[in-house]
């Protein structure tokens, strides 16, 4: 029975305790006000004092009272954790010292101004991220926030006040928070403002006159009240949910918002979030990637939208489908979505509108039981901007020039042709030009080609010539048909090409993934895995890669500078991406991705981007795939090593079993012989019997002695305690010493010794090699018929002195040859007695002396063992 090694109970207990403390997340309480001056800080400090009286360990992480006396007085008695000062561009800034707070680990921390943006060298760009870390560490936090800083409300705030809000807090942060509304009527606030009781930063002071209008304040107050009310409603729902059977809630609403690179998406996302708030449901932001190539600007806008959705609490999904409707509905069905939110169609008449209408029609038709919300979008884009944007997006102006040049050239050719043919043929030549252009140019230039060629055709070749006027109905038909065919052709062909490009990109991605899978699949050692992972990452992304793995104690191994290492460790421990282009330690050079499967992170992937812009959605999703796969491979390797260890254990168990079997048999037999023989001695008086018995006893004793010597030798070899004492030895001396020790065992055999004349000295441990030779000779004596000769020889071969021991027995079985030197291996049909240790000891001794041993069958019959000892430069005598 194999006993599987379990974790020790102490470790288990420690792990459980850790888990427990991690599970207890700190509670967040937000003091929400409609604007500055509402008295949030005061309210927070008041609550803190109450908590302190109740015996709770409270510290101030960051509280700004702006010198207001009443507020200052409330700070008294509460421990303040010193702020951290940093110098940025010559200005000394003080920030909340997150590490000190984590180290202090009080029960409650007070943190003012949740929406604050940290100094650039801080770990997180935003203070709310610091607060999240405190909560993660199991510390409760009191904080203050103005309603205008809540992410989902910024649109409304802008609409009401006209002020663009820069510092926002994602709604998710407020998700689990308890909200305490600090309410004040607008009149009172204005009163306090005029009394100078409200502190405003100087630059804001001028803007404040606009902001603090009574109308605005009423609206802001309503927003704050509504937010608090929604929150309360949500809490009630959550409570109900936790107390009830979850049945009806599973069927509750779930929203999906379609996100694109369009600037309207942002509004849609915020709107959906508000819907979600009032419905108290979950939501998804989905993007359908089509063959449409996005410009860099669009790409980054899309990334921003997805980030925004995520920060507002949405799950984000990205799928690839040329058919947007099908893609959206697929995601919706997979995710059990009940309502889809899409934007109202915009675009240039007629195509944009037509396309959007078609899009909506299909969506309505195919969405089945899923509801549809079509959002009003702000009509911000004028036609010209849209058109120029659309046309210049893919193709440079150079392509338009090429198109015009092409059309001019063809017009010249047509003028020549016109002498011989009619307008229909020239029309076809134009048409051909459009098709050819579509093969090389983007959509815009192709449309331009189609339009100009149509006009030129009409002007130069359709009668009446040199006018845009068309006389007969035939030509009119032809002209319009031409125009439509040219546009359609151009459109079709460029779509085909775009699809082609998309396919190619997909294929590239698939190939990259495939290469990674392939190379990681081949990797069998940690070095291989690291090499394959890094080379694939570097090949696929414009970045330098590195794979950081933990050592035995679970700490990340790395020689990175401190800041980089800090980011890596953070990623490793918190299982979140850190470093450049992320929210945590963005000042680091590298970006760090935790490699995890289930449970703990297994390592960290470091990317040092060569590009200036954040990774695109495309790159991110690719990277996610890479990270997931590398993590899986690392996990597999870990499991493989664990399995190998188990195997080693099983093997050693098998060996000890074999040892026990062999030893018990080998010990018992001679002991039995001794006991039996001595009892025979006691009763017998016959001198012949007497002699035989004595002989038996002696042999049994010698056998026992040999067994013990073997076991001791084995133990020494196993424990690595064989340290040969190298000394110059005469080979013939070695052989003679060995032969002398086995005189009795080889008594009835002829032993021929053949030592090459002038065999050089070898530098070995005399005793070990002698013992090896003795064992080989005993082996021959044991396994060959009595009286058969044994041959010992020594000769120089290449760079070694080879000593051979040959016999005239039956030789070794073919299947025994590769295993003959294995521990406890006994060749099939071997005579009784023996542990199967002898030859493995011989091998161990020879190898300890830098030599090698081989077993073979001689062509003339019998087995031959060759011990090769390294030949060294001879000493001077």
């Amino acid at each position: 029975m194999t006993r599987i090694e379990g974790p020790n109970p102490d470790e288990l207990l420690a792990a459980l305790k850790k888990e427990e403390s991690q599970q207890r997340r700190g509670a967040l309480k937000v003091f929400l006000g409609m604007c500055a001056g509402a008295g949030k800080t005061y309210a927070m400090l008041e609550s803190a004092q109450k908590a302190k009286k109740a015996g709770i360990d409270v510290v101030i992480g960051y509280v700004e009272t702006h010198g207001r006396k009443e507020t200052d007085a409330l700070k008294e008695g509460i421990e303040v954790v010193q702020r951290r000062a940093t110098v940025y561009r010559g200005v000394t800034l003080t920030e909340m010292d997150l590490d000190a707070l984590l180290k202090r680990h009080s029960q409650l921390v007070l943190v003012d101004e949740l929406a604050h943006t940290n100094a650039p060298d801080s770990r997180h760009p935003k203070r709310y991220q610091d607060v999240l870390e405190l909560l993660d560490a199991g510390i409760d936090v009191f904080t203050t926030l103005n309603v205008q800083h809540v992410e989902s409300r910024t649109d409304t705030v802008r609409e009401i006040t006209g002020a663009q809000i820069q510092e926002t807090v994602p709604d998710t942060v407020l998700g689990e928070a308890e909200i305490e509304l600090v309410d004040l009527s607008p009149e009172e606030l204005l009163q306090r403002l005029s009394e100078g009781k409200v502190y405003l930063p100087e630059q804001a002071a001028t803007a404040s006159t606009n902001f603090f209008r009574e109308g605005n304040l009423v609206a802001l107050r309503e927003m704050a009240l509504r937010l608090a009310a929604e929150k309360a409603g949500q809490n009630v729902r959550e409570y109900m949910r936790s107390k009830q059977i979850s049945g009806p809630w599973k069927l509750g609403p779930r929203l999906l918002v379609a996100v694109s690179a369009s600037p309207h998406s942002e509004q849609m996302i915020r709107w959906t979030r508000r819907m979600v708030d009032s419905l108290g449901c979950t939501w998804i932001a989905a993007h359908v990637e089509t063959s449409h190539v996005l410009s860099e600007e669009e790409q980054s806008r899309l990334t921003r939208h997805m980030e925004l959705a995520r920060s507002l609490g949405a799950e984000t999904r990205s799928t690839a489908d040329d058919d947007v409707v099908a893609g959206l509905l697929r995601v919706a069905r997979e995710q059990n979505v009940t309502e889809i939110v899409v934007g109202k169609p915009t675009g240039i008449w007629p195509f944009g509108i037509l396309r959007s209408a078609h899009f909506l029609n299909r969506l309505i038709r195919e969405s089945g039981n899923i509801g549809l919300h079509v959002m009003r979008t702000e009509e911000s884009s004028n036609l010209r901007a849209h058109l120029s944007h659309f046309l210049s997006r893919e193709a440079g102006w150079r392509q338009y020039l090429q198109a015009l040049l092409g059309v001019s050239l063809v017009t010249l050719i047509n003028m020549v042709l016109d002498v011989f043919v009619g307008p229909r043929s020239t029309g076809l030549v134009y048409l051909m030009t459009v098709v050819l252009m579509a093969l090389f140019l983007y959509r815009g230039p192709v449309y331009l080609t189609a339009a100009t060629s149509a006009l030129l055709w009409n002007y130069f070749f359709l009668p009446p010539r040199m006018t845009f006027h068309i006389d007969n109905i035939d030509d009119m038909m032809m002209f319009s048909m031409y125009f439509i065919v040219a546009l359609a052709m151009g459109h079709l062909i460029s779509r085909l090409r775009a699809k082609d490009r998309m396919d190619r990109r997909r294929e590239e991605r698939a190939t990259a993934m495939y290469m990674l899978t392939l190379e990681l699949g081949d990797a069998s050692s940690w070095e291989d895995i690291v090499r394959a992972a890094v080379s694939n990452v570097e090949r696929t992304f414009t970045a330098k890669g590195a794979l950081l793995l933990p050592d035995v104690s679970g700490k990340l191994r790395s020689d990175l500078p401190e800041r980089e290492y800090g980011a890596a460790v953070w990623a490793f421990e918190h299982m979140q991406a850190t470093g450049r282009f992320s929210d945590t330690l963005p000042m680091a050079d590298g970006m760090y991705f935790p490699l995890r499967t289930t449970g703990n992170a297994l390592g960290v992937l470091r990317l040092q981007w060569q590009q200036k812009s954040p990774p695109t959605i495309d790159q991110r999703s690719m990277l996610d795939g890479f990270v997931r796969h590398i993590a899986l491979v690392i996990d597999r390797q870990r499991l493989r090593e664990m399995k190998a260890q188990t195997k080693v254990l099983a093997e050693s168990e098998r060996l000890s079993q074999a040892l026990l079997n062999a030893v018990s048999h080998e010990l018992r037999t001679p002991i039995a012989a001794i006991v039996t023989a001595t009892s025979g001695l006691d009763i017998g008086t016959n001198p012949a019997v007497h002699k035989a018995m004595v002989n038996e006893i002696r042999q049994a004793g010698e056998r026992l002695n040999r067994l013990v010597a073997n076991l001791l030798d084995m133990a020494r070899l196993e424990s690595g305690h064989v340290t040969p004492h190298m000394d110059w030895c005469d080979v013939s001396d070695l052989i003679n010493a060995a032969l002398k020790r086995v005189t009795t065992e080889l008594a009835n055999r002829t032993v021929s010794v053949n030592i090459e004349v002038a065999t050089p000295l070898v530098r070995v441990d005399f005793r070990l090699i002698e013992q090896a030779l003795v064992d080989l000779l005993l082996n021959a004596a044991m396994h060959t018929p009595h009286g058969s000769p044994v041959e010992v020889s020594a000769h120089v071969k290449e760079h070694s002195v080879v000593i051979t021991v040959g016999d005239h027995g039956t030789g070794l079985a073919a299947e025994a040859l590769p295993r003959i030197f294995d521990k406890f291996y006994r060749a099939p049909g071997a005579v009784a007695g023996g542990t199967g240790l002898g030859l493995s000891i011989v091998k161990g001794f020879v190898e300890a002396n830098g030599g090698s041993i081989q077993a073979a069958n001689r062509p003339s019959g019998g087995a031959m063992f060759s011990v090769a000892l390294p030949l060294q430069e001879q000493p001077i005598v």
Binding site: A709, D727, C729, N736, V753, D765, E770, P875
Partner: protein, 235 residues
């Protein structure tokens, strides 16, 4: 009566294993020795001083003192022949014992005839040797006065070093000499680690004096320790 006692050799056995002591007592008494026993080092030293044995048989693994320590203490005041009898097989142990004054070293398990032979050799060397002029062993004859060596009556030509090596071994016939000791005696104190000198010279000597070089009968190798000149009577 007194004469008879005188003829008998007195052997002191210092060993903590009762079975080995019993075995030795039976064997030795049967071969004309008188035997006294000690079970530990301290006791053994006292016995050796008070009883003045002719030979000491010493085990190295004693409960109180290490065998080598006992050897050293004994050698501080006595030249009694000491035969070490031990289960320790390692060369270092043997060399340590020999270099610290043991006359011979026998590992357990041992054969009785061999033990008796070794005891005789040890005692012979301890008795003040009469100045031998000629050493004879089988076919070999060494004339120490004329520094000449003959085998089967034929002169054997030896170099100066070869002769000194042979003479050293022959003078200590039956006794194992460590590499260190031989090197120091023949080549001088600076050569104690140059074991290859020995390998080469012993091989040459064997070539000249042994009848069958591949199976030497006189110059015997003691694996890992040194050499022993085997007299014909012992062989």
């Amino acid at each position: 009566m007194k004469d008879e006692v005188k003829k008998k050799f007195l052997a002191l056995i210092i060993d903590d294993e009762v079975q080995i002591r019993r075995l030795l007592r039976v064997t030795l008494e049967a071969n004309g020795y008188t035997v006294i026993e000690s079970v530990n080092g301290q006791d053994g030293l006292v016995e050796a001083a008070s009883r003045r044995p002719d030979i000491v048989i010493l085990d190295l693994g004693l409960p109180d003192l290490d065998g080598v320590a006992v050897l050293k203490r004994l050698r501080e005041w006595s030249r009694i022949p000491i035969l070490v009898l031990s289960v320790r097989e390692r060369d270092q142990d043997k060399i340590a014992a020999l270099d610290n004054g043991a006359d011979d070293y026998v590992t357990k398990p041992f054969s009785t005839p061999e033990l008796l032979a070794r005891l005789r050799v040890a005692m012979r060397h301890a008795s003040p040797a009469e100045e031998q002029k000629v050493f004879r062993n089988g076919e070999l004859e060494i004339d120490f006065v004329n520094r000449s060596v003959t085998r089967n009556g034929k002169a054997v030509k030896l170099t100066v070093t070869e002769y000194s090596l042979l003479r050293l071994l022959a003078c200590n016939v039956g006794k194992v000499l460590t590499h260190r000791y031989i090197l120091k005696e023949v080549w001088g104190p600076n050569a104690v680690d140059q074991t290859h000198y020995l390998r080469v010279y012993v091989a040459r000597l064997r070539e000249k004096i042994e009848s069958e070089q591949s199976r030497p009968a006189m110059l015997m190798t003691e694996a890992g320790i040194g050499y022993r000149f085997m007299s014909e009577s012992q062989g």
